[in-house]
């Protein structure tokens, strides 16, 4: 992706490079093996691969080891206990070293092996066999175990999971820690050592506050957010695996909508929608106790379940015993009886409206992602053949697809935003709907152009088709226009549509002349 192309966009004042992060992803080539903090572009996060993570981990271990004058293995135990925070280790250690040592099982003495028989032999506390001293080990606490038993003990702990990181002496009453030097020395196999080291690495990511794994499928990268990041600004992260997500809540990227709205929306989707829609479509509330009733018999004489037992007419919801016929139209009664149901239905209709569009944009984005892969792997090749273009001359097509993918994401979340936008804030709603409509129309035109109009140029007629240049101009134009619309939409939503509050309706009239026409 060409950064200059973006910077040439001078009609809209972009306040920082967040937009750049958002709309253009995958800009960091896979070949940058070092963790490269992209401060130059205003990015507040760093993508880390396994080697980067390990390096950071070794760095903090080395720092603690130097300051506290303890071994690297001891520093590891301390850091792991204090969630890999150098500050917390310092604080606790210098406040009361003995308390810390006791808590993590670090002895400050070395005890001789207990149970050493005559002739420097000792009995292993696990297999009860007697061994020469050099084959007996303890973690400084003096409890003697042979090499083989240590190996078995370590191996079963490692296979039990990450609990092996807090391994202690096998003696039940002893809390002396078995550190990673012991593991390295006594583990039975390289496989065990590898697993242990992997747990250690995972612990560094999972227990530290600044790093999180990318939730993308099969992704092995982690993302570090710089201290003080986020807040009012975006938490959006684009991983090198091409998955983009919100670092704060680990859901899909959801700019410009906040994490709280996303969480309410997603839980609404899972908890309520299906059951509620089903209930409303098939049931009526009992006129007395309001419980939902599904009609399972043929006649209209309904009897509510105990303890209510209210008997009523299914059609008019009137009391059965004061009921003769209800074929005659009674406007007043009708309005009264159906009012509650209508309210509830209206609610569901509203929810369905937003949900459908949210879901449609979600799946449209998934398809666009697949389509872009096809464009990159197949169609660009074909165009190079049929239109005689160089690869760099065709970048505008992938630009367009990246734009589509980014915009679908934004558009999807604006539907969750719209659902929660209070209905009585008429002016805000109007502005929101205007901006959303504008952006959506732009995006549909762009998406259609990228999807359909490209096809004609894929056929090989022996010579380049004439209209290609026009296609290029059109697609580039639509890409740019759509980007602007979405930037405007994102900015307005992130400001809480505050333009409205400050300036009132007249201002809207000036800035968005179509607003009143649409509203």
């Amino acid at each position: 992706m060409d950064e200059n192309d973006l910077n040439s966009d001078d009609e809209i004042a972009i306040d920082d490079d967040c937009y750049y992060d958002f709309f253009i992803k995958g800009d960091d080539p896979m070949d940058s093996e070092d963790a490269k903090s992209r401060e130059g572009s205003g990015q507040k996060y760093t993508i880390l691969n396994q080697a980067d993570i390990r390096k950071r981990q070794e760095d903090v271990i080395a720092a603690i080891s130097t300051v506290l004058s303890v071994s690297g293995a001891t520093a590891t135990i301390l850091l792991r206990h204090f969630n890999w925070s150098v500050g917390k280790v310092h604080e606790a250690w210098f406040a009361d070293e003995d308390v810390v040592r006791k808590r993590v099982g670090l002895l400050n003495y070395e005890k001789q092996l207990s149970d050493v028989n005559a002739g420097d032999r000792a009995t292993c506390g696990i297999c009860f066999d007697v061994y020469p001293r050099y084959r007996i080990f303890s973690v400084g606490c003096g409890h003697p175990f042979c090499r083989e038993c240590w190996g078995g003990y370590i191996s079963s702990a490692i296979n039990d999971g990450p609990g092996c990181l807090t391994l202690r002496c096998p003696d039940v009453s002893c809390s002396a820690a078995a550190d990673r030097d012991i593991i390295d020395m006594l583990a039975l196999s390289d496989d065990d050592k590898k697993k242990y080291s992997q747990y250690l690495l995972r612990s560094y990511v999972e227990e530290s506050k600044q790093i999180k794994w990318c939730p993308g499928p099969d992704c092995e990268y982690a993302v570090e957010f710089d201290a003080g990041g986020g807040g009012d600004d975006s938490w959006d992260v684009s991983c090198r695996c091409s998955y983009s997500f919100c670092w704060n809540c680990l859901e899909d990227s959801h700019r410009p909508v906040d994490c709280q709205t996303v969480s309410s929306w997603l839980s609404k989707n899972t908890d309520e929608s299906e059951t509620k829609i089903w209930i409303l479509a098939r049931t009526k509330p009992c006129p007395r106790c309001q419980k939902s009733i599904e009609k399972n018999g043929g006649c209209m004489h309904m009897t509510c379940n105990p303890p209510c037992r209210y008997e009523f007419c299914w059609i008019c919801l009137g009391d059965w015993y004061n009921h003769e016929t209800c074929n005659r139209y009674n406007e007043a009664a009708d309005v009264e009886a159906d009012k509650n149901r209508e309210d509830a239905e209206k609610h569901v209709t509203k929810y369905t409206h937003y949900f459908d569009r949210w879901a449609a944009n979600h799946s449209s984005r998934q398809k666009a992602i697949a389509e872009m892969q096809r464009v990159q792997s197949v169609q660009i090749r074909k165009l190079i053949e049929t239109q005689g273009k160089a690869e760099y001359e065709l970048l505008f097509i992938t630009d367009a697809w990246e734009q589509i993918i980014g915009c679908r994401q934004v558009l999807k979340w604006t539907y969750a935003y719209g659902y929660y936008l209070p209905e009585n804030e008429h002016t805000k709603r109007r502005l929101f709907e205007f901006l959303q409509g504008e952006a959506e129309t732009g995006l549909e035109r762009l998406h259609e152009c990228a999807e359909l109009e490209l096809n004609q140029f894929l056929v090989d007629y022996g010579s380049p088709l004439e209209g290609f240049k026009e296609f290029e101009v059109k697609l580039k134009g639509l890409t740019m226009v759509t980007r602007k619309y979405f930037e405007k939409l994102v900015r307005a939503l992130e400001n809480g549509l505050s333009e409205v509050q400050v300036s009132g309706t007249e201002e809207i009239g000036q800035n968005f002349p179509m607003a009143s026409a649409e509203g």
């Binding site: 696990i126 009860f128 038993c149 039940v172």
Partner: protein, 153 residues
């Protein structure tokens, strides 16, 4: 006895269990499987199980001592940490197992569990509830069951 590959640890433990049994506990290996033990525990004095003789089975899995022995009550017992299949809720038989523990220590712990039932960490919800809402009555039931099922007849 066809137990040629029996680890020395098991042989030693068995010898010691037979030569110096713990008070109120007996454990002897089965004749055809040296990893399978028939166990008897006497109900501890001052407990609802006093006077009872409880039969258990104990099996040493292949991984023993890296994995805990499997122990189960064969005698019916009314106890909040023991279910109707005789399974026992005891930390050292699960996540707190250490290879430095032994058959002897396990059986002593089970004996202690009979003296001190722990309804806050129940295996049998009903019995635990009974224990918490009306301990005196629950203890009576436990005594009754001891008479009925563990009288050693």
């Amino acid at each position: 006895m066809a137990n040629s590959n029996l680890p020395r640890r098991i042989i030693k433990e068995t010898q010691r269990l037979l030569s110096e049994p713990a008070p109120g506990i007996s454990a002897s290996p089965s004749e055809d499987n040296m990893r399978y033990f028939n166990v008897m525990i006497l109900g501890p004095t001052q407990s609802p199980y006093e006077g009872g003789v409880f039969k258990l089975e104990l099996f040493l899995p292949e991984e023993y001592p890296m994995a805990a022995p499997k122990v189960r009550f064969l005698t019916k017992i009314y106890h909040p940490n023991i279910d109707k299949l005789g399974r026992i809720c005891l930390d050292i038989l699960k996540d707190k197992w250490s290879p430095a523990l032994q058959i002897r220590t396990v059986l002593l712990s089970i004996q202690a569990l009979l003296s001190a039932p722990n309804p806050d960490d129940p295996l049998s919800e009903n019995i635990a509830k009974h224990w918490k809402t009306n301990e005196a009555e629950a203890v009576e039931t436990a005594k009754e069951w001891t008479r009925l099922y563990a009288s050693g007849a």
